[in-house]
């Protein structure tokens, strides 16, 4: 498939993932109890965090798969140019992006388990930590991907 189309699909999936994991992270950090007739922020905080877990897992897997599919095109057509342009921070940011993507994959079974299979109060801290870390990885990867595409998008 044309890398530009793949990149657009990857971006759209990433937007959905960003929205889901951000909602969940906000909810676990400051849950609101009375959403009715409340402000936008209160309703945002009141979303049922549990209901996002399956969507986050699925979107993360799809997004990472698409990113992995695109990676060779990046390696051949973008990274080389970034090196020629002497932009080490941009290259380093992408190196972190690939590592964060894998760390998120490694966490995903635990994330799913503590959200879907066991909602014991004893695991509340694990849910907050896993969600926060996953949200950080997703935000980093989204922003770095967006910035790198601005520097040298596929097809440029």
């Amino acid at each position: 498939m044309n890398p530009t189309y793949l990149l657009i699909i990857h971006g759209l999936v990433a937007v959905a993932l960003l929205g889901a994991v951000t909602h969940q992270a906000i909810s676990v950090w400051s849950a609101a109890r009375k959403p009715a007739a409340a402000s936008f922020v209160t309703r945002l905080r009141a979303v049922p965090a549990t209901s996002y877990a399956n969507a986050v897992v699925l979107l993360y897997l799809v997004s990472t798969f698409l990113g992995g599919w695109l990676y060779p095109a990046y390696r051949l057509n973008v990274r080389v140019v970034l090196e020629q342009l002497q932009m080490p921070a941009a290259n380093g940011s992408f190196e972190l992006k690939e590592h964060f993507a894998m760390l998120g994959l490694a966490m995903l079974p635990a994330y799913w388990y503590f959200w879907r299979a066991s909602l014991e109060p004893a695991y509340a801290r694990a849910r907050v930590a896993l969600t926060s870390l996953l949200a950080f990885f997703v935000w980093w990867n989204f922003l770095v991907g967006h910035i790198l595409n601005n520097i040298r998008g596929f097809g440029s």
């Binding site: 990676y71 051949l76 972190l96 490694a106 388990y113 694990a126």
Partner: protein
């Protein structure tokens, strides 16, 4: 050990072992295979770049995921008394520490 008791052991140990194996694989380049994107060829283990850059990331993922899965299965087979008090925090502390380690390893990209 019943299946309900095994699942948390597996997911915690999988996360911990996969993350540790990934960091070790990155540092020492223990890629299970190499991908050559210019030609679309795969090579077993670590191969040097040919005419174009070689990619090890897929190989690191394979190395660490298999290691994590094997470690998780071994942990599930251990007596319940050994794994009952396995802290759930390991599932997120390992990736958190790995984030800091990998950031440190890549610091030179940002310090120029």
């Amino acid at each position: 050990m019943n299946q309900n008791a095994r699942l948390p052991v597996f997911v915690i140990v999988f996360s911990l072992a996969t993350v540790i194996a990934y960091v070790v694989a990155v540092i020492y380049n223990y890629a299970l295979f190499t991908y050559h994107p210019a030609t679309g060829e795969f090579g077993l283990g670590v191969e040097k770049a040919r005419d174009a850059p070689a990619m090890y990331w897929y190989g690191w993922i394979a190395t660490s995921t298999i290691t994590g899965a094997v470690a998780g299965l071994i942990a599930c087979a251990l007596p319940q008394g050994l794994t009952r008090r396995l802290p759930a925090a390991l599932a997120w502390l390992a990736p958190l520490i790995a984030t800091l380690v990998l950031g440190y390893l890549l610091r030179n990209f940002f310090l120029h």
